[in-house]
């Protein structure tokens, strides 16, 4: 299956984290439980269109689209 940016998937679609495109951001994301192989889902989007809230590792995390775009999912 082809890789997509996390920001390209629809709200409510469950995807699996594959890899990251930015090393510095990936460290922060890994620590917060965004691990390759983990399932991830966009839960909701802030009223002004950014940041977004995702469900990952059993909890809800918010992050800016800029950071979310560094997560590649399949």
């Amino acid at each position: 299956m082809e890789l997509r940016k996390l920001t390209d998937i629809e709200i409510g679609t469950v995807a699996t984290i594959d890899s990251f495109t930015d090393e510095e951001t990936s460290i922060l994301l890994l620590e917060m439980g965004c691990l390759p192989g983990e399932s991830i889902e966009i839960s909701n989007i802030a009223p002004l269109g950014d940041p977004i809230a995702i469900k990952v590792s059993g909890y809800k995390l918010s992050l800016r689209k800029k950071e979310a775009a560094t997560i590649l999912v399949r």
Binding site: L28, E31, M32, P47, D50, S57, Y59, L63
Partner: protein, 708 residues
């Protein structure tokens, strides 16, 4: 014999760590600062059994030993140096039982540092309700550390937790390393171990990562570690990625047969429904503004009564002391300097308490995280961050606790800009100034029959404060350059009912911080101002004394009663005092703004704290009593005329110019002091003082010239 030892409480944010801290220590807490830094240091007495009492320290919430903010840095600093006075004998790791995976990352790092740990599984009640089954004995066996299930909010599991702490203190069980750290950088780890004479791989690995930010290392040691790193091409990012992934693999293995989730968590479903409404594109923002408006209203409505009680108490004390103390310079100092200084501090307590009541509730329920989430996009444009919302809102009460609450902003640039712009928010000290000035020129009328015109102008001043904070942020964004990237990563915790004891303790602590931080500065400055306003060149003072002594002896029966005479004398003395001389000295500079030397005195005296303006005005316009009688000050000010030209002193243009000046000028020594400490130097508070005051001057000048 009593033995004393240190226990540290550590855990991710939102794990109920403070609730557990409160449950373990009760009100037996001490708040201070960690030496050298301004992070709040919360300690308490933990009685374990008849013979054993520990000092419990609450370390700031952190996700890992790789700190991102000033708050998180503390844990690293303490745990990396056995010589640190706070170095713990036992570490209690608090985790949210409903969210074990991410929470255990920190635990595995602490185990690898060979620290005796106790794992406290908090919120077990919620976990059970959500259908999460945790096999506690098996978890303890697999991890090799004591595991205790607790529900801090109703004190369940506290005795067992205490027992486990005692056990880890007397006979620590230290499991072997959870992951193979040595393999990440074998040569670097070995050389650092040799250099420092330590035998722990992870401690050496941590040093390789964090040496540059550890205050306990000498420059020589830092250089040595740097050299070792360079020699072997140590890649901090790559090794951290490897470490984190390995840790999660270990955790997944641990959790594979110890935790079972039976049904979708009810709390989580409810939380999602709430989020759909509370962060909705339209309703979300609408609800936020309604809440903000309610908080705003309550700050003023609820605190009115207690504020007048405090005022009256101080008036009674003043009257009482005037009656019993012998007349003299010391009595004058107490009544004219110390008492007003103290009341000037305490008068703001009600507003601060009400504000932090709301902030504590909003934070405890999880709503504040959503506000941060919703506002980030807007704040980002102005060099700020979603997390700047709490400091900005707190700034409505007082900039001092507000600036301190900016500590959890990870990015230094975002935090600095937040600190810089917070004093633009209209704080409670500006309120009495605005109230007096508005009453001078704005008629007490209603528009559309129900909106008070004076109230509207006041609201406009608050809006002006907020807008200028944003604009200042936008400007600063262009000037401040940093290497670190701005990012926003924040957990959205599940909504919960507020824990009232936490709310109460937060209010208490914030109020105490305000009194200690702002209080001492305001008090000291009040005394200095009293000296400036009481003393002057003795030649001039003697002349006044003689003049009035003569007048009162000639004038025993006539209409001039002695108290009027007394207040006239007071006003003349103020004019001749050092404060008066200063006012006259700066008159040429403030004339283009529409002010005379009398207003100049008020500017000088309120430079340390804005609210002093009202008191000074009442002294200058020789009102009997003090600033409490607003009506009389107002009347005298309305009648005041320029003795040379005969024109009114407080014209519309002058008053507007004054309001603008007070809106922008940084007239608050306490803020200056707190910015100095939070930014670790004199540079930023000086820049802030200078730019804000210069801007205030220019804006007031423009307003006066335009209106007059």
């Amino acid at each position: 014999m009593n033995k004393q030892f240190n226990v540290a409480l550590i855990g991710n944010p939102n794990t109920g760590k403070s609730t557990l801290f409160n449950a373990l220590t009760g009100l037996n807490q001490k708040i201070g600062n960690f030496s050298g830094v301004t992070v709040e240091r919360k300690t308490g007495k933990l009685e374990l059994n008849e013979n054993l009492t520990a000092s419990l320290i609450d370390l700031p919430g952190t996700y890992s030993l790789y700190p991102r903010s000033a708050d998180e840095h503390i844990a690293l600093e303490i745990l990396n140096s056995t010589k640190n006075p706070d170095y713990p004998n036992v570490v209690v790791v608090v985790v949210d039982a409903t969210n074990l995976k991410r929470n255990l990352l920190l635990l595995t790092q602490l185990i690898d540092l060979q620290l005796p740990v106790v794992l406290a599984l908090n919120m077990m009640d919620v976990a059970q309700q959500s259908g999460i089954e945790i096999n506690v004995p098996l978890l303890a066996e697999k991890l090799g550390v004591p595991v205790v299930a607790v529900t801090a909010r109703d004190f369940q599991g506290i005795p067992a937790l205490k027992e486990a702490i005692v056990q880890q203190f007397e006979q620590p069980t230290l499991p072997s390393s959870t992951i193979h750290i040595h393999g990440y950088a074998p040569e670097v780890i070995d050389e650092i171990k040799n250099y420092f004479h330590i035998n722990n791989d992870y401690a050496a690995f941590e040093l390789a990562h964090h040496y540059h930010e550890l205050n306990n290392l000498t420059q020589e040691k830092k250089d040595a570690i740097e050299a070792i790193g360079l020699k072997y091409n140590f890649n901090a990012n790559k090794t951290q990625v490897a470490e984190t992934i390995d840790r999660y693999n270990y955790i997944n293995e641990i959790l594979s047969d110890t935790v079972r989730k039976n049904k979708p968590a009810l709390e989580e479903t409810r939380s999602n429904t709430l989020d759909a409404i509370l962060t909705h594109r339209i309703f979300g923002l609408l609800i936020f503004f309604v809440i903000l408006f309610g908080v705003f209203q309550s700050i003023f409505n609820w605190s009115q009564y207690p504020m007048s009680v405090i005022e009256n108490v101080f008036i009674s004390i003043e009257n009482y002391l005037t009656a019993i103390l012998p007349a003299g310079i010391l009595t004058n100092l107490i009544i004219g300097g110390i008492l007003p200084g103290m009341s000037g501090v305490l008068i703001f307590l009600p507003q601060i308490a009400v504000l932090f009541l709301f902030i504590a509730i909003l934070e405890d329920t999880g709503y504040m995280a959503r506000v941060t989430f919703m506002m980030d996009r807007l704040m980002k444009n102005f060099g700020l961050n979603g997390k700047s919302v709490v400091p900005l809102i707190s700034g409505i009460a007082c900039a001092v606790p507000a600036i301190m609450s900016a500590r959890n902003i990870e990015n230094w640039k975002d935090r600095l800009i937040t600190i810089f712009v917070t004093p633009f928010m209209s704080c409670s000290a500006r309120l009495p100034v605005y109230t007096l000035l508005i009453s001078l020129v704005v008629p007490n009328k209603f528009v559309f029959g129900f909106l008070s015109l004076q109230g509207l102008i006041l609201m406009a001043m608050y809006l002006l404060g907020f807008v200028s904070a944003l604009l200042a942020g936008w400007l600063l964004k262009l000037f401040i350059k940093t290497k670190s990237k701005s990012y926003f990563l924040m957990e959205l915790p599940v909504y919960r009912m507020p824990r009232w004891s936490n709310v109460g303790i937060t209010i208490f602590n914030k109020a105490r911080t305000f009194v200690m931080e702002a209080g001492k500065v305001i008090l000291a400055v009040s005394i200095i101002l009293w000296v400036l306003a009481t003393f002057g060149p003795s030649k001039d003072f003697d002349a006044i004394e003689t003049k009035y002594a003569k007048m009162s002896s000639e004038n025993t029966t006539v209409e001039l009663n002695s108290s009027t005479l007394e207040s006239k004398k007071k006003a003349e003395k103020l004019e001749a005092s050092y404060a008066g001389l200063l006012g006259k000295f700066i008159e040429p500079a403030i004339k283009p703004l529409g002010y005379d030397w009398k207003i100049g005195i008020a500017l000088v005296t309120s430079f340390a704290a804005r609210e002093v303006f009202v008191g000074t005005m009442s002294t200058i316009y020789s009102v009997q009593g003090d600033g409490e009688h607003l009506d009389t000050v107002r009347e005298k000010m309305l009648e005041a005329r320029n003795p040379e030209t005969g024109e009114l002193t407080f014209t519309f243009a002058t008053v507007m110019s004054l309001m603008i000046f007070y809106a922008f000028a940084m007239q608050c020594m306490s803020t200056f002091a707190v910015v100095y400490r939070e930014t670790n130097g004199i540079k930023w508070p000086l820049i802030q003082l200078f730019t804000m005051t210069a801007f205030a001057y220019l804006a007031a000048f423009a307003v006066y010239q335009f209106l007059s």
